[in-house]
């Protein structure tokens, strides 16, 4: 693994606080070990389920066992009569005490604008209908078994094809159809049709990406405490978004937001699954409030696989038109998104982003995508790492590979003719994305070179092939004005606060959260770098609505370093200026005469060049809090807070390559080598960045090969309720030949030129594997339209192609 930064020269001056970062000897750009690792390694992490000291009651969520039905009977008599029941809540009590949850992002035409907590009409297997509380989890399960329920079954709508068929049963009869809403991005259908009609060659495919379960190793968990005297609800929750979580809870429980505190302990992974408040989480808080007690709930794995929202669930009819020279004259996609039983807080978002991101790094004469969001009797979908962009990459790069195959052109040549060149940037696409900086052909060339000598074997029972594809990731969501225009009730800004304490230590507050991605370390590096102090002086506080800045998006959408880091870049520059001014006042010289010297991890010292007088960083901080010698009579508190609303999105990019083997006798695919060439601008911590990319690639291989949250096509009941059936990538899924390298082209949007990278590693992974399989077995290339490429599916294609015998 290598990190090869490139770009403009060093900048460490307060005059240009936003300049791109280069290794300056400061902490930015260094692979320092992560600040939290020691306690995690000692087993002293503090995850939500670790907090209870034995005083909390435990909740079990009662759930629908049917995919669609009316709850006709909810008899808690026997359960309540059991001495161990502390509380049993059914739909009627829940309705009496709550309001529905708000939605956040409604697609055009969407009339469903709230999320019911425990409706009597259930629309997916696993939907909450009640809650049981007892002294322990096992006892709560015992009591839950005593609740008697009855359902009048309704026909289940499984999959969007069934939902859109004539005469399909309606998931929400009150809306008159199963379409929740629709939208068009880019050129109009008419314009794209005209361009396609004039194309020399058109490739059409039905492309899909399966439903997937987040499967963070730590499931969702909650500890809620209601203090009757002060009427305060304190919630320790495994969430990526403490502020929206608080807002939703306050709305649902009819509280003021300042009655609710949401604090985020250590998070055992999230991947988008913890970006919204779920109904079951709300019910646990309701129980705490009704009981005036602490109530704990930790989702079990079956719930995580079936009742937590899911990701993806998309199919598309996609067409690519090319002229006689192989230039892309038109791209069209009609995307059907499976939102499930109801549109979750941002449930249509991934499909809209897929449409928005349909073009990737290519030029098209015309391009547009339509989205139709469809209700089905499945658990709702929502944000999942790669958010629409992985789906777009799948659609686009399957089409490109198939076009090359049909035209008999090398795919590399076809891509080269259509890639946006570095000289064309900034470039605005047909869907109005403006790419800022980069060199997409260079990245793709590196990936192609990586597999140039990879084995291609087209005979025998083990075939081998390889492929390379480029990708683009929109990062740093986002300009608030863009979100407003998209009808999304969310601000895209972040606030960063730096406090220099009276002992010289530095406390940083940001609205993003740590979920294993190492953001606390990256932010500490940024602040230490900007202030010019050793990393050891800096502590980072995240994820507490009582103390950390309000944030809508918090840590998702590959934005933490870009937006929160951007705010702290600026706050750091300001704080550095203030500390220098205070030091100058103490040393009786001008701020320009003062230099801050740091020797290793020793305490930094201010030195006046003219007089050689010195004062330690801590002395200056201490006097600052006393208010002594302050240059500005109105400013005492040694805090700097900067709100940063990014002026645009900033586009990271990559090209990935894979070499695969396909066993014609079993349909099994082995990824034998994998290469990722990424550019996310300057890296704050290359070690962490590589970890993010490696993890994202593995998650992408899961989509490519093993993971699918499948439903029984007739009953709508989940088929994958256990990790035995929902198969995560195993160590052997990820090749040991995993090669990661970086270039660093600074972006123009965020201070420091940073671009995001939390998700980019998974965008090309499924399609580069599929394209490599197509290279190995061109006989089945046409049919590689959906993931996962499970051995059974691949073998079926091989058999149909006459390559495998039954």
């Amino acid at each position: 693994m290598t990190a090869a930064p490139a770009g403009p020269g060093p900048d460490d001056t307060t005059a240009r606080p936003d300049a791109p970062q280069q290794p300056t000897g400061g902490p930015i750009g260094r692979s320092v070990p992560r600040l939290h690792d020691d306690r995690l390694l000692r087993g002293q992490g503090r995850f939500t389920d670790d907090i209870d000291d034995g005083t909390a009651l435990h909740a079990v969520v009662l759930r629908s066992p049917v995919a669609h039905g009316r709850l006709t009977r909810f008899d808690a008599g026997a359960a309540r009569a059991d001495g161990r029941a502390v509380l049993v809540l059914g739909p009627d009590e829940i309705a009496r005490h709550t309001r529905p949850l708000p939605t956040v992002w409604r697609i055009r035409g969407q009339r469903q604008d709230t999320i019911e907590l425990a409706p009597r009409t259930v629309r997916y297997a696993g939907q909450p209908v009640g809650l049981v509380v007892a002294a322990g989890r096992a006892e709560a399960e015992d009591v839950a078994e005593l609740v008697e329920t009855g359902y009048e079954p309704l026909p289940a709508v499984v999959g969007t094809d069934a939902a859109l068929a004539d005469g399909a049963p309606l998931v929400h009869p009150e809306y008159g159809g199963n379409t929740a809403g629709s939208a068009r991005f880019g050129d109009s259908e008419d314009e794209v049709e005209r361009a396609l009609a004039g194309a020399a060659h058109v490739v059409t495919r039905e492309l899909g990406v399966q439903r997937v379960a987040y499967t963070s190793l730590e499931t969702r968990a909650l500890l809620a405490e209601w203090t009757p005297g002060t009427e305060q609800l304190t919630v320790w929750a495994g969430t990526q978004v403490p502020h929206p979580f608080r807002y939703g809870l306050a709305r649902a429980l009819r509280l003021r937001v300042d009655q609710v505190r949401v604090a985020v302990p250590d998070l055992g992974g999230a991947f988008g699954g913890k970006t919204v408040l779920h109904a079951d989480e709300t019910l646990v808080c309701l129980a705490a409030r009704l009981l005036g007690r602490r109530v704990a709930w930790t989702e079990d794995r079956a719930e995580a696989l079936t009742a937590s929202y899911q990701g993806r669930g998309m199919s598309a009819t996609a067409r690519l038109g090319l002229d006689a020279d192989g230039r892309f004259v038109a791209l069209d996609a009609h995307i059907t998104g499976d939102v499930g039983a109801f549109v979750s807080q941002a449930g249509t978002g991934p499909f809209q982003v897929a449409a928005q991101a349909i073009e990737g790094p290519y030029r098209f004469g015309r391009a547009g995508a339509s989205v139709r969001a469809v209700w089905t009797n499945a658990v709702p979908t929502g944000a999942y790492r790669g958010y629409g962009m992985q789906e777009a990459c799948w659609i686009r790069e399957r089409l490109v590979a198939e076009a090359a195959r049909e035209l008999g052109l090398p795919a590399a040549e076809l891509r080269r003719r259509n890639l946006i060149g570095p000289e064309e940037l900034p470039y605005t696409t047909r869907t109005f994305s403006t790419y800022d900086t980069g060199d997409y052909p260079r990245a793709l060339h590196s990936a192609e070179q990586a597999v140039a000598d990879a084995p291609r074997v087209r005979e025998g029972r083990i075939r081998r092939g390889a492929a390379a594809v480029p990708s683009i990731e929109a990062t740093g969501y986002g300009p608030t004005s863009l979100l407003e225009a998209a009808g999304m009730e969310a601000g895209g800004w972040e606030s960063g606060r730096i406090r220099v304490n009276e002992d010289g230590t530095v406390t940083v507050f940001a609205g993003v959260v740590a979920m294993g991605q190492g953001i606390e370390t990256a932010l500490a590096q940024i602040v230490a770098d900007r202030l010019g102090v050793p990393l050891g002086l800096v502590a980072v506080r995240l994820g507490d609505t009582d103390t950390t800045p309000r944030s809508e998006f918090s840590s998702q959408a590959s934005r933490s370093v870009v937006v929160a880091g951007g705010a702290l870049m600026r706050a750091g520059a300001r704080m550095r200026e203030r500390m220098h001014a205070l030091a100058a006042s103490l040393l009786e010289t001008s701020a320009e005469d003062v230099r801050l010297d740091v020797e290793g991890e020793d305490e930094p010292v201010f030195r006046a060049a003219k007089t050689s007088r010195t004062a330690t960083w801590a002395q200056v901080a201490h006097r600052g809090w006393l208010g002594w010698g302050r240059p500005d009579p109105d400013r005492i508190v040694l805090e700097e807070t900067v709100d940063f609303d990014p002026p645009g999105l900033t586009y990271a990019y990559a090209a990935h390559a894979a070499a695969v083997a396909v066993d014609l006798d079993t349909g099994q695919i082995t990824v034998e080598g994998y290469w990722a060439f990424s550019d996310s601008g300057p890296l704050v911590n290359p070690m962490i960045a590589e970890g993010q990319i490696a993890g994202a690639v593995a998650q992408g291989l899961g989509i490519a090969l093993t993971e699918e949250a499948a439903l029984d096509p007739s009953t709508g009941l989940p088929l994958t309720t256990s990790l035995r059936d929902y198969e995560l990538p195993a160590p052997a899924t990820v090749p040991t030949a995993l090669h990661l390298s970086h270039t660093s082209t600074p972006g123009t949007v965020a201070p420091g030129g940073f671009k995001g990278l939390g998700e980019g590693g998974m965008l090309p992974a499924p399609v580069v594997v599929a394209n490599a399989v197509a290279d190995a077995v061109p006989e089945i290339a046409r049919r590689l339209e959906r993931t996962p490429l499970s051995p059974y599916r691949v073998w079926t294609m091989l058999r149909d192609a006459g390559l495998a015998t039954g």
């Binding site: 992560r34 389920d49 161990r84 499931t219 794995r301 195993a730 160590p731 990820v734």
Partner: protein, 173 residues
């Protein structure tokens, strides 16, 4: 049957004798986490697949979610809390940190216990990175950093076979 039988479970955990009441049905993972408050052992699936709850029972790696606490009566259990010496990371823990072998840290305690047993047993790198790691699921790292840690331990002077055997904290040094 609604009344759960309870009995006192006595065992040695990280070198210290511990004794506490447990229901017959209480899982060892819950007994360690909620009764003994050793929350370093994590629970990820309660069906033996993910490996996060792996502890050492009489020196052997086992899924604590697939054992009843009463089955550990009189036995010796080692958990992640016993690895560091007076708060100082042991060599395996340090290596995992250096190779970025953890992200969210949820699977990490189980991985550490399996690798500890593998080192004591003297398993080679192939067996460790193959058979032993196959018993764990990590959603964050793509296993790259964990495999790098295994490789680094096998390259280290003295190698992983130096890992001490025992029921308690690692000897200093």
């Amino acid at each position: 049957m609604t009344t759960a039988a309870r009995r006192t479970v006595t065992l040695t955990v990280n070198g210290a004798a511990r004794s506490a009441p447990a229901e017959d049905r209480t899982l060892l993972s819950d007994f360690l986490r909620h009764t003994l408050r050793l929350t370093g052992t994590h629970v990820g699936c309660e069906e033996g697949v993910c490996g996060a709850c792996t502890v050492l029972l009489d020196g052997e790696p086992v899924r604590s979610c697939l054992l009843l606490a009463v089955q550990a009566q009189g036995r010796t259990v080692e958990t992640v809390e016993g690895l560091a010496d007076d708060g100082r990371l042991n060599a395996l823990q340090r290596t995992l940190k250096e190779t970025h072998g953890l992200q969210c840290g949820f699977c990490t305690p189980g991985v550490l216990m399996s690798l500890t047993a593998a080192e004591r047993e003297g398993l080679d790198e192939e067996e460790t990175a193959g058979q032993v790691l196959a018993g764990h699921r990590c959603r964050c790292t793509g296993y790259a950093g964990i495999r790098a840690a295994v490789a680094a331990r096998h390259r280290a002077p003295g190698g992983p076979r130096q890992a001490p055997r025992g029921g308690g904290a690692e000897a200093a040094g």
